[in-house]
């Protein structure tokens, strides 16, 4: 066993390291690191983001998302991957407002300031609402620590392969112009409108 291992990693006569094995191990380890820190993939499990991300029995969308975003990155209006605060798993939501911005809730019209280090996330599908800032479980902004990073593109099934920036740019899904999300106000807009600071 020891001889087999040493012959795998080192040349038996010269004693040089086996470069193929070394390269293979390095690629495997760097892949594990990238999956931990840089990007990963996840399957869609429910209908909460329905027009954008589809769920079905056999061919749910497979989403490539980033696992790192710098704390100063502007995430507003992006679809992000969020760690589920009530369990283990990844959920996908749209960021409506970031820290120090104001939100007028869609359901009861209440006006809230998103505190430091928090974001306001919402589902796309008002009928299939799961855990988000309007749902009774969470009912408020969520810590920025739960947000992993923005989604890059759908990679499976092959006919739904789209980049998320293209999806936002060329979306013709909502022709009815009905508001589907809460309204966001910056602090300047809020000061001009209501005198709130």
């Amino acid at each position: 066993m020891g001889q087999y291992l040493s012959h795998t990693f080192f040349h038996p006569q010269t004693g040089h390291p086996n470069l193929k094995v070394l390269t293979f191990n390095t690629i495997i380890l760097l892949g594990i690191y990238a999956n931990q820190r840089l990007f990963s993939i996840s399957l869609i499990k429910d209908d909460s983001m329905s027009p954008y991300l589809l769920n079905s029995t056999f061919l749910s969308d497979l989403v490539w998302y980033h696992k790192y975003s710098p704390p100063t990155e502007k995430l507003r209006n992006k679809i992000v991957a969020v760690r589920d605060p009530f369990g283990k798993g990844i959920i996908f939501r749209r960021v409506i407002a970031e820290e120090h911005q104001w939100v007028q809730r869609m359901d009861d019209g209440g006006i809230i300031k998103v505190p430091q280090g928090h974001v306001w996330i919402e589902c796309e599908n008002p009928d299939g609402r799961k855990i988000d800032s309007l749902s009774p479980e969470l009912n408020g902004p969520i810590s920025r620590k739960h947000v992993l990073g923005p989604c890059e593109r759908i990679i499976w099934p092959i006919w739904r392969c789209t980049s998320f920036s293209d999806m936002n740019k060329f979306s013709v899904l909502f022709g009815d112009k009905k508001p589907r999300h809460s309204q966001m106000y910056t602090s300047q807009q809020m000061y001009d409108k209501y005198g709130l600071q």
Binding site: T23, Y33, H118, E137
Partner: protein, 174 residues
């Protein structure tokens, strides 16, 4: 330039072997460095690490400054979720990049007793699924779940097992 190099390599073949072996050694060193850094990251993330903490919020148990604690990340990653009386290191939900050292008082499904400043009385808060209620030992000087509510288990890094510095005060903390 290329003719110069060709002349050099044809007249002195030992230069070629030197360049080749140097490139090979550099490649091996880079691969091993990458493997080492990745393994060190995984070790820190999933086994244990030393954390330096400061602040008055855990005062009788953990001093105000010059502390080095042994943080066990393996238990919460693979074995169990936080339990009562664990001293945990968690991420501060309001300040990205800052951490908290607090004690777990209530776990999911329990009712937490908290002083309400408006009504000047105690109210009960239910800790939701997948959350814990953490408070410092120094109740008068601690910002914890009494301010921001229960925090998710996802924000908890690990459980503090021992204090290794100051060396005179070394001690198991679980």
């Amino acid at each position: 330039m290329s003719s110069l190099l060709r002349n050099l390599f044809s007249k002195h073949p030992e230069v070629v072997s030197t360049v080749k072996s140097t490139a090979r050694d550099t490649y091996i060193a880079l691969c091993l460095t990458g493997q080492l850094l990745t393994l060190a990251y995984l070790f820190d993330r999933y086994l244990f690490r030393l954390v330096g903490v400061k602040g008055p919020s855990m005062l009788p148990t953990i001093g105000e400054r010059n502390n080095l604690l042994l943080l066990d990340c393996f238990t919460y990653a693979f074995l169990r979720s936080p339990q009562k009386n664990d001293i945990v290191v968690a991420e501060n939900p309001f300040k990205p990049g800052h951490t908290l050292v607090k004690r777990v008082l209530y776990v999911e499904g329990e009712m937490a007793e908290v002083m309400d400043q408006r009504s000047q009385g105690y109210v009960s808060v239910k800790v939701p699924k997948g959350h814990v209620w953490i408070e410092g030992d120094n109740k008068s000087n601690s910002r914890d779940s009494r301010d921001f509510g229960p925090i998710s288990v996802n924000l908890v890094d690990g459980v503090v097992r021992a204090r290794v510095w100051p060396w005179e005060l070394r001690q198991r903390l679980d």
